[in-house]
Amino acid sequence: MTAAVITPSRRKGSGFWRAFARNKGAVLGLVFLLLVVLMAIFADVLFPTSPWDMTAAPFEPPFSEDALLGSDTLGRDIAAGIAHGARVSLLIGLTSTAVAVLIGVCLGAVSGFYGGWVDDAVMRFTELFQTIPNFVLAVVLVAIFTPSLTSIVLAIAIVSWPPLARLARGEFMSLRSREFVQAAVTTGQSNLTIIWRQILPNSLSPIIVSASLMVATAILLESSLSFLGLGDPNLMSWGYMVGAARTVIRQAWWMSFFPGIAILLTVLALNLVGEGLNDALNPKLARKGRA
């Protein structure tokens, strides 16, 4: 009787999607995120002129004829800026997270796998980076190495990796003493193979969940940096638009309102997707708050 009711999902994928789709917020977030990605990809088609070009009279309010969301102090189209800015936000969010995952997982894996003094040394290093006020560090790194796409990505990655290192360390420590790892040791696999082929695949799901949430944080960090004028000067970004409109907030609310909404919704969507991933990938874990 029970055997008929429980139909094990044949492919792993369908179970994942069903668990993910059970979280309505996550699906909503994913749909919105796809829209943002499409907007970023087709920014040149939607708004063929450069977002830096003057296309309307300055200080045009929203819903005016030549600027849907209004124009800024120099007559640049806000909507065009948002569409082009989506590229920068997504690009920096994804690449800096990738770099942070690389640093964090490598250090955490080594630390958790070898233990002993290696673990001590790596953890002291991690603690040091957690103590330094991270946004201050990001500001200083970008300012010192002059704002560019590379320096921003690296700065965000450098301040973001410690939580991932801790997470990976914990996973590696707990998996290291499991039987399948002992079996791999007995069959004479090298440490590198064990880390890469045996333990890492088994510790991926919590890492994926944290990474998806980290993209959101990275986008917030990027917008904060470019708000302070530390964005790549050649790329239009949401934070820069808010920062540039800061001084005219009394006359023109729309200049800072719409780019801010774009940041808010994108980051919210990413957080929702991250939670959905958590539900789908770690079904046994109680949902925990994020640090």
Partner: protein
């Protein structure tokens, strides 16, 4: 020696090492910067000929080997001498001390309010899990968690200063108003409201989430059932039995976030034109004022380390079982 003394002395030793390590790190970081401070200074003085640059370099010890500069710097750091700002023509320590009160009052008030508000809202949400008030708190928290704080600041200015005219938007006091005594105090408080709320909102969302998750884990444990079976009033079960156990992870995270709060104050001080450390950091970055940057880094790190020490202490007070871990 009593356990608590061992605990504190261990933490103190560790804290000193962390601060020294950060000092060394900062020194190399700032020296990795492209561009030569002597050349920059000379350029601003309007005379960038080689001789003048060389003279400036000697005057500020920039011609010495790097390790010697590091040695000098560390020796001075130990004596709380953070050097002299080339640009502002003032000792860095004085500059920092001028700016510190504004930043501390901003971050500490935000922190305390965020913690109280977050724990209260999180408790409320968890105890009524599944009801509309839980949903409302969760949605508001998620939104606050996703909003850039500089933008919240601007929107609050737009609403409360520009449209409603209730609160001042910029600075720490009304310039030229000539308030004294009580009126001056109220005036300063009014100027703090928007920055504190802006900075606190984000962290309140974080603490709300944490408290809620933590309480949901604790509230069905056996000791809570026992307390309920004994017939204790509900408020006592929540405040003494549940909260005391559930609040530990919140304190841990709160301690870790001291550094984030100071980082956030850079943005808040920029938005609200407050003359604090954050604003000074931003100006120093733009002017490539190395000495000031080094000082700010060190000072903020020291503040964070002290903060972490305090959280350790609070932790050991809340949870007497705490192991005095090495």
């Amino acid at each position: 020696m009593p356990r608590i003394a061992v605990f504190i002395s261990q933490r103190l030793v560790k804290a000193v090492f962390v601060v020294l390590a950060i000092a060394v790190f900062n020194f190399f970081l700032v020296h990795a910067a492209p561009g030569d401070p002597a050349a920059v200074m000379a350029g601003e003085a309007g005379a960038a000929d080689a001789k003048f640059v060389e003279q400036l370099r000697q005057q500020f010890g920039l011609d010495r080997p790097l390790y010697e500069q590091l040695g000098t710097y560390m020796g001075k750091v130990v004596q709380a001498d953070l050097g002299y700002s080339y640009r502002q023509q003032r000792p860095v320590f004085d500059l920092l001390m001028d700016r510190l009160p504004v930043t501390l009052s901003l971050t500490l008030t935000s922190f305390v309010l965020a913690l109280i508000g977050g724990v209260a809202l999180g408790t409320l949400a968890a105890m009524r899990a599944g009801t509309w008030s839980d949903t409302a708190i969760t949605v508001v928290g998620l939104t606050a968690y996703a909003t850039p704080i500089f933008w919240i600041g601007l929107m609050l200015i737009l609403l409360f200063s520009v449209n409603l005219g209730w609160l001042p938007a910029f600075g720490t006091e009304s310039i030229g108003a000539g308030y004294t005594g009580w009126a001056a105090f109220v005036d300063r408080l009014e100027h703090l409201v928007l920055p504190v709320v802006t900075l606190g909102l984000f962290y309140m969302a974080v603490y709300t989430r944490l408290t809620r998750a933590s309480i949901l884990e604790v509230r069905d444990m056996d000791f809570v059932k026992t307390a309920r079976a004994k017939g204790l009033p509900e408020w006592r079960i929540v405040s003494v039995h549940i909260l005391r156990n559930a609040i530990l992870p919140v304190i841990t995270v709160a301690g870790f976030q001291a550094g984030h709060l100071i980082g956030g104050s850079i943005l808040i001080e920029t938005v609200f034109a407050l003359p604090g450390i954050g604003r000074l950091a931003f100006e120093a970055v733009l002017q490539r004022d190395y000495q000031v940057l080094l000082g700010i880094f060190l000072l903020t790190s020291v503040v964070v380390v002290i903060f972490n020490l305090l959280t350790d202490l609070i932790y050991s007070l809340v949870d007497p079982r705490i192991e005095v871990a090495p």
